[in-house]
């Protein structure tokens, strides 16, 4: 299963809501403003690094680039993908759930 999260974890509860329910080993793609959750050095970095141990966490690179961020600023264990990779994830991981 693939979970989609698109909101900043500093502003909304959607990433937290997703992590509470997503089963171990399921995949989570962070895109739009949710890419801020993938950054090193924030107050959420430790929790995200932990989450990356139990879930496959991906981040959408064009949404990073748009916001002045790059793969180098992303936490270890979070995997950058572009839109082709986004499409591949939806094909490969089964049902897709958007956390809105």
């Amino acid at each position: 299963m693939l979970h989609l999260v698109n909101k900043s974890p500093f502003e909304r509860n959607t990433l937290e809501a997703c992590l509470k329910r997503a089963t171990k080993g399921s995949s989570i793609l962070l895109y739009e403003d949710a890419v801020y959750a993938a950054l090193q050095g924030t107050t959420l970095a430790a929790a995200m690094a932990q989450a990356a141990k139990t879930h496959e966490i991906y981040v959408l690179t064009p949404d990073l680039t748009a916001r002045g961020l790059d793969a180098a600023s992303v936490l270890d264990g979070v995997r950058p993908v572009d839109y082709d990779g986004f499409v591949d994830l939806t094909a490969d991981k089964g049902t897709v759930q958007s956390w809105l």
Binding site: M1, N13, A17, K20, R21, T23, T95, W99, L100
Partner: protein, 130 residues
């Protein structure tokens, strides 16, 4: 995993889930999801309705949005059963965090734990959220 499409003559029955995470009235989502659920009942699919996080407030008893001249759609939840929508789940933890119990709800529901809800989501073919 999703049911792959095929060309057999049998009608396809998929596991649909409508995920309600938002409070009613502050936004229109609760109302328009409900309209979607009613329509979907006509397609004889395996429909699941879940209320979690602030979505549990959607089925709180005693709502009266007419004081704000807003549409009172909360009664429609009681009609779901008549439309054959019988699989209605509410997450236990979400209710507890908000100080709600089953007595506060408009309709009888199945109360499930957070972990169980995650597994249920995992078993769906189509998940529609708003």
């Amino acid at each position: 995993m999703s049911v792959e499409s095929d060309n057999s003559a049998e009608p396809k029955v998929k596991r649909f889930m409508y995920v309600n995470r938002k409070a009613p009235h502050g936004t229109v989502y609760a109302l328009e999801v409900l309209e979607m659920v009613l329509i979907s009942a006509m397609f004889e699919q395996d429909v699941h309705l879940t209320f979690l996080d602030d979505g549990v407030f959607q089925i709180k008893k005693g709502q009266n949005p007419s004081v704000l001249e807003m549409k009172d759609f909360s009664k429609t939840y009681r009609a779901l059963d008549g439309y054959g929508i019988e699989k209605v789940f509410v997450e236990k933890e979400s209710m507890e965090e908000r100080g709600l119990s089953q007595d506060d709800l408009i309709i009888p529901v199945e109360i499930i734990g957070r972990e169980e809800l995650g597994a249920l989501m995992e078993s769906m073919d189509v998940v529609l959220s708003a």
